[in-house]
């Protein structure tokens, strides 16, 4: 993964209240929890800093009211942050005026919404073509592009349907097609599957993975569903009360949660699909190769569980070059899979 930065957020604050800027200044830019309560201000986002790498799927999660939706709206400037800096593709996003923001949204950003945000008075085709229409792309070109997008999300043949004639899953496909119509650099998804039934949700997640393999966008994805996060994420950030509690790879989060709050989230995570062999094996220094049946250091433990559990001796673990770097015993893998304690 390249480490080129797409978005850099530094000390971003979003405070709601009568005069949030003055409030922040009064408290030296970092008001205490008591100050918020005493003066009747709400800190939706508090001092949040993180980067989004080009080409990664960054998932921000948290419970409702944790500020996850607000931070995405700060980056898209649907809400202006109260303080902090946001760098988007190397330039200062908060310095952009309204016209520049409109240009950015027209060409660089795409967004999918929890309740789809489709225009009820337009059919599928013209909903998908809408971002192109407001840019002034001519009719033939935008219809062709919209048609292409509709086919991409598998809604071919429904071009003339209105949103209310579609199921929730289909509506969100339209939302996805619309957000991709302008070929954005960064794709924001705000709880895109939360309003859908569990079966449809799983189907849409697979669809999302398929699309991402094709398109390889930089993605900021919001969800409150930890399982969804672990299924899709390269990195996960967990927010609580407006603060970013921990931001790391899913495996790291399961193995080393920053605090009890994160641990609570991670407890019910499907460890078999998150934790890799390398994280739980007993390391060996031997640089030998083996002829025995072995497992790869990057394999998820769920994939190798059967093999390890059926073997009476610890199974050797090899790396890319085939060098043995450790071994994994039955006891080890049982603990990793079923124990709720930290490994």
């Amino acid at each position: 993964m390249s480490q080129e930065m797409m978005i850099e957020c530094r000390n971003v604050w979003k405070v709601f209240g009568e005069d949030p800027k003055a409030f922040l200044d009064r408290h030296g830019g970092n008001p205490s929890r008591e100050a918020f309560i005493d003066e009747g201000y709400i800190g939706a986002v508090r001092d949040v800093s993180f980067d989004v790498h080009a080409g990664e799927i960054l998932i921000i999660m948290g419970l409702s009211g944790s500020g996850k939706s607000t931070i995405i709206r700060c980056i898209t400037r649907l809400n202006d942050p109260t303080a902090g800096t946001i760098i988007f593709e190397g330039s200062d996003l908060l310095a952009a005026n309204e016209a520049e923001m409109i240009e950015l949204r027209r060409h660089k950003m795409g967004m999918v919404f929890q309740n789809f945000g489709l225009l009820p008075h337009r059919d599928v085709l013209s909903n998908v073509a809408f971002p192109l229409e407001v840019q002034g792309v001519d009719t033939a070109a935008r219809m062709a592009r919209a048609k292409e997008m509709i086919d991409l999300v598998g809604l071919g043949g429904r071009e003339n349907y209105y949103p209310r004639e579609l199921s929730g899953g289909q509506q969100q496909r339209v939302g996805i097609a619309r957000s991709l119509a302008v070929e954005p650099d960064v794709w924001f998804l705000d709880e895109p599957f939360s309003a859908l039934d569990p079966l449809i949700r799983a189907e849409m997640q697979d669809e999302f993975i398929r699309l991402q393999r094709l398109l390889k966008k930089t993605i900021v994805f919001i969800t409150h569903d930890f399982e969804e996060a672990t299924k899709l994420a390269d990195r996960i950030g967990i927010m609580k009360d407006g603060r970013m509690v921990q931001l790391c790879a899913p495996e790291e989060m399961v193995l080393h949660p920053a605090d009890d709050y994160v641990a609570e989230f991670a407890r019910n995570a499907p460890r078999d699909r998150i934790v890799s062999v390398g994280a739980v094996m007993d390391k060996t220094d031997g640089r030998s190769k083996t002829s025995k049946a072995s497992i790869h250091v990057k394999d998820k433990i769920g994939k190798v569980a059967e093999q390890v559990l059926n073997s009476s001796t610890p199974v050797p673990v090899i790396d890319d070059e085939g060098v043995v770097v450790g071994k994994l015993s039955r006891e080890r893998i049982t603990t990793a899979l079923f124990s709720e304690t930290e490994i």
């Binding site: 027209r106 967004m111 309740n115 225009l119 009820p120 059919d123 971002p131 840019q135 004639e165």
Partner: protein, 749 residues
């Protein structure tokens, strides 16, 4: 709540009412002080005449000054009002021509050429581009204008009252061709208005397009009534005013509404202004308009346009504010500029609410146009007013029915249209004919009826011989109504006299006995408890400066007496009916249909049955208010009970409550805020209606407005109108704010 409260006491409601800091105790103390003042000082009993602030005279003088002397430097106010009149008259000329007046052929030339230019422009635009289209249209108009220059000059000099010095003629005559062709085709130099068949069937076809066969038949039958009772011309006079007023009110309302959502400062100024405007009765708009613009169709239009605008503005604000945030945000993320967001996202998404606003504008317009007969507007209202004043009840019934049917048609059609156009369903491929079937059929009907109109004039306006119900029938009806009421008078008179002498008059006298110090004091205390010093200051100053200090106290007390008398009856009828509706869906369907229908009637209509039964007098006034004002009491009670969460009712049932216990202990307490909102509405509607009942007497504020009309005494009318508005606002701020607060506490929205 603190946990350390071991002692559990349940006080009776009576004890709670009289606790030391309860509002009741405070109100009683203030009331007693008020009475004491009244006993000691004369001025506390009745506001002394020499203390009256001469606001009325000042306002009247101001309007006279505006009319006679005021100037903006370059031009006078009088010139401005004349210009406005002239501008508003232009569309009216066309609507009158099309609907009932007809015109001479050569008067039509400008519009014919404009139409030709427009059609040519559209054709060119379809095949080429906008610029060429505009050039073509401009060229056509220029050629015609140059050709007809002498004629245009003549009509200009005529309107400037300069004698024409020559017999004008077109240069070549090209500009006159359409008129010549028309004339040679029809053999007449006049063009008639739309034939009634075309209008009736036009409504029917639109009804079919918007709401299917059922609506088409209802609409056609209602409109036919107008034609077959000989009221066609009058109806079209009324309709021609509606047609002009509605677009203006709707557009102005839309613009103001959008402005309010865009600018906080505009919201701060305009929102309270709308509150005031909606609390001010119809009649009060007429007085200043008459002073500034005189009497007739144009002043009627102006008053109507202003009166009917606020509902549209409110609906626009509501429409924009209730667009789901996902939709506005998706619009912004699609890269919309603020203007694109408004036109492509917010307004279309809120279309249903906007069309509801349009429906309200149309209904308000019709109601106001009818009332404008008081300032000389022609049409159905004028006829009805005349019949009522002459006690020709048969005619009044016939004309009243015409107004009601017109209201039903307009209401049903706009509602169906609103439903249809926000009902987004895809259609499979349709041919041109399929897509435009209704339009094509209408064009066919129009052409056929116009041809028919040149063959027989009955196709244009039905002649007397063909009427199903004419003046003779009306006279018969008149007689039978008189016979019935005469027969009934033996029953009605004792009841009327008993009610009047033993309940109404004592109540009125009692109201007049209460010193103003008590009223204002108690309202101040209650307001303070409900909404703090701000509300208390608002309510007290409204009552003091707008009513008492200008010398309108006694009129207001009479108005208040009418309203409360009617209110008691409205609540006694409305709340039980609402409860019954909530118990039985079948009853609800019927009652709600009646409520909907009653609400579409222009308020003026309610005078007809009241006068029929009670002639003039206080009981007639109260009787006229009741059907108009009971509707919200029924509706909100029903809604309030329906909004009680199902779980709450199930829990009460499972706790073993009998149906009565459930109603008293669970449903009503939860529904009471909603019911109070209904009562609040009832008060507002009763206030509006008292102003209209001025026609049948009463020493109240409405009567003051009515008396101010013929004398053009602007101050008198305006202050009386504002007085009614003030009563409404005080009531609304007290009851409405309590109800909304309580609703939030109960978590019922």
């Amino acid at each position: 709540m603190t946990i350390a409260a071991p002692e559990i006491r349940q006080e009776s409601w009576l004890a709670r009412l009289f606790q030391r800091d309860s509002v009741v105790v405070h109100a009683i103390i203030v009331g007693l002080i008020g009475i004491a003042l009244a006993v000691v000082f004369d001025w506390a009993r009745a506001w002394p005449a020499e203390w009256v602030i001469p606001v009325k005279a000042q306002i009247s003088a101001f309007f006279v000054w505006l009319d006679k002397q005021a100037t903006f430097g370059l031009f006078t106010v009088k010139q401005l009002t004349r210009t406005i009149s002239w501008l508003i008259k232009q569309p009216l000329i066309w609507s009158e021509f099309l609907l009932w007046k007809g015109a001479k052929t050569h008067q039509l030339l400008p519009v014919i050429w404009q139409a030709i230019a427009a059609v040519a422009a559209v054709i060119v635009y379809r095949s080429r581009d906008l610029k060429t289209a505009l050039i073509v249209a401009a060229a056509i108009l220029a050629v015609v204008a140059i050709d007809g220059l002498p004629l245009i000059l003549q009509s200009l000099t005529k309107s400037l009252r300069i004698d024409a010095w020559m017999e004008p003629q077109a240069l070549i005559g090209v500009s006159q061709w359409p008129a010549d062709i028309l004339q040679s085709m029809t053999g007449s130099n006049r063009v008639r208005a739309f034939p009634w068949i075309a209008v009736v069937l036009g409504f029917g076809i639109f009804g079919h397009w918007a709401g299917g066969w059922r609506l088409a038949i209802i609409v056609t039958l209602c409109m036919s009534y107008l034609a077959f009772t000989g009221l066609w011309r009058e109806s079209m006079k009324t309709f021609s005013l509606v047609v002009v007023a509605v677009p203006f009110s709707a557009i102005l309302g839309l613009v103001l509404g959008v402005w309010v959502t865009r600018s906080e400062r505009a919201a701060k100024i305009i929102t309270p202004l709308f509150d005031l405007m909606q609390a001010t009765p119809h009649l009060a708009y007429l007085v200043p308009v008459v002073v500034m613009f005189g009497a007739g169709q144009v002043p009627a239009l102006i008053a109507t346009m202003i009166f009917a605008m606020p509902p549209m503005a409110r609906c626009t604000i509501l429409a924009i504010q209730t667009v789901p945030s996902d939709i506005t945000e998706s619009g912004r993320m699609s890269g919309c500029t603020p203007r694109q967001l408004l036109w492509k996202v917010q307004l279309p998404s809120g279309q249903k609410t906007l069309l509801l606003g349009l429906n309200q504008v149309i209904m308000q317009t019709l109601a106001m146009v009818v009332i404008c007969s008081l300032v000389g507007a022609q049409g159905l209202g004028h006829k009805l007013l005349f019949s009522l004043q002459q006690l020709k009840l048969g005619f009044a019934t016939m004309q009243g029915a015409a107004i009601v049917l017109m209201a039903v048609v307009l209401d049903q059609i706009t509602q169906a249209y609103a439903r249809r156009s926000s009902d987004y369903v895809h259609h499979d491929e349709q041919s041109f004919w399929e897509r435009h079937a209704h339009l094509i059929v209408f064009a066919g009907v129009l052409v056929a009826s116009i041809i028919a109109a040149y063959i027989t004039s009955h196709a244009s306006t039905l002649g007397r011989d063909y009427l199903l119900f004419d003046n003779r029938d009306a006279l018969e009806l008149d007689k039978s109504i008189k016979a019935v009421t005469f027969a009934m008078i033996d029953f009605i008179k004792p009841i009327r006299d008993f009610l009047t002498v033993y309940t109404l008059i004592p109540m009125r006298d009692f109201y007049h006995l209460i010193p103003w110090t008590v009223v204002i004091g108690v309202i101040g205390v209650v307001s303070h408890r409900m909404g703090g010093w701000k509300l208390a200051a608002l309510n007290v100053s409204l009552l003091f400066f707008v009513i008492l200090a200008v010398g309108n106290w006694s009129y207001s007390v009479t108005t208040f007496y009418f309203v409360t008398s009617a209110l008691v009856i409205c609540v006694l009828i409305g709340v039980p009916l609402g409860i019954w509706c909530a118990r039985s869906e079948r009853v609800a369907r019927v009652v709600m249909l009646i409520c909907d229908t009653l609400q579409t009637f222009p308020s003026f209509i309610y005078l007809v049955p009241a006068i029929m039964l009670f002639r003039v007098g206080e009981l007639a006034i109260i009787f006229a208010i009741i059907p108009y004002a009971t509707v919200p009491a029924i509706r909100f009670t029903y809604l309030g009970l329906k909004k009680v969460p199902a779980v709450t009712i199930e829990a009460a049932t499972m706790s073993g409550a009998t149906p009565w216990q459930r109603l008293w202990k669970v449903e009503l307490p939860v529904a009471i805020p909603e019911i109070m909102l209904g009562i609040n509405q009832t008060i507002m509607m009763a206030l509006a209606m008292t102003a209209i009942t001025a026609l049948i007497g009463g020493q109240d504020l409405g009567q003051e407005i009515y008396r101010a009309l013929p004398t053009s005494d602007a101050g008198r009318g305006v202050m009386a109108g504002l007085g009614i508005a003030s009563l409404g606002i005080v009531g609304d701020r007290l009851i409405g704010s309590w109800a909304n607060k309580r609703k939030a506490e109960l978590g019922v929205v």
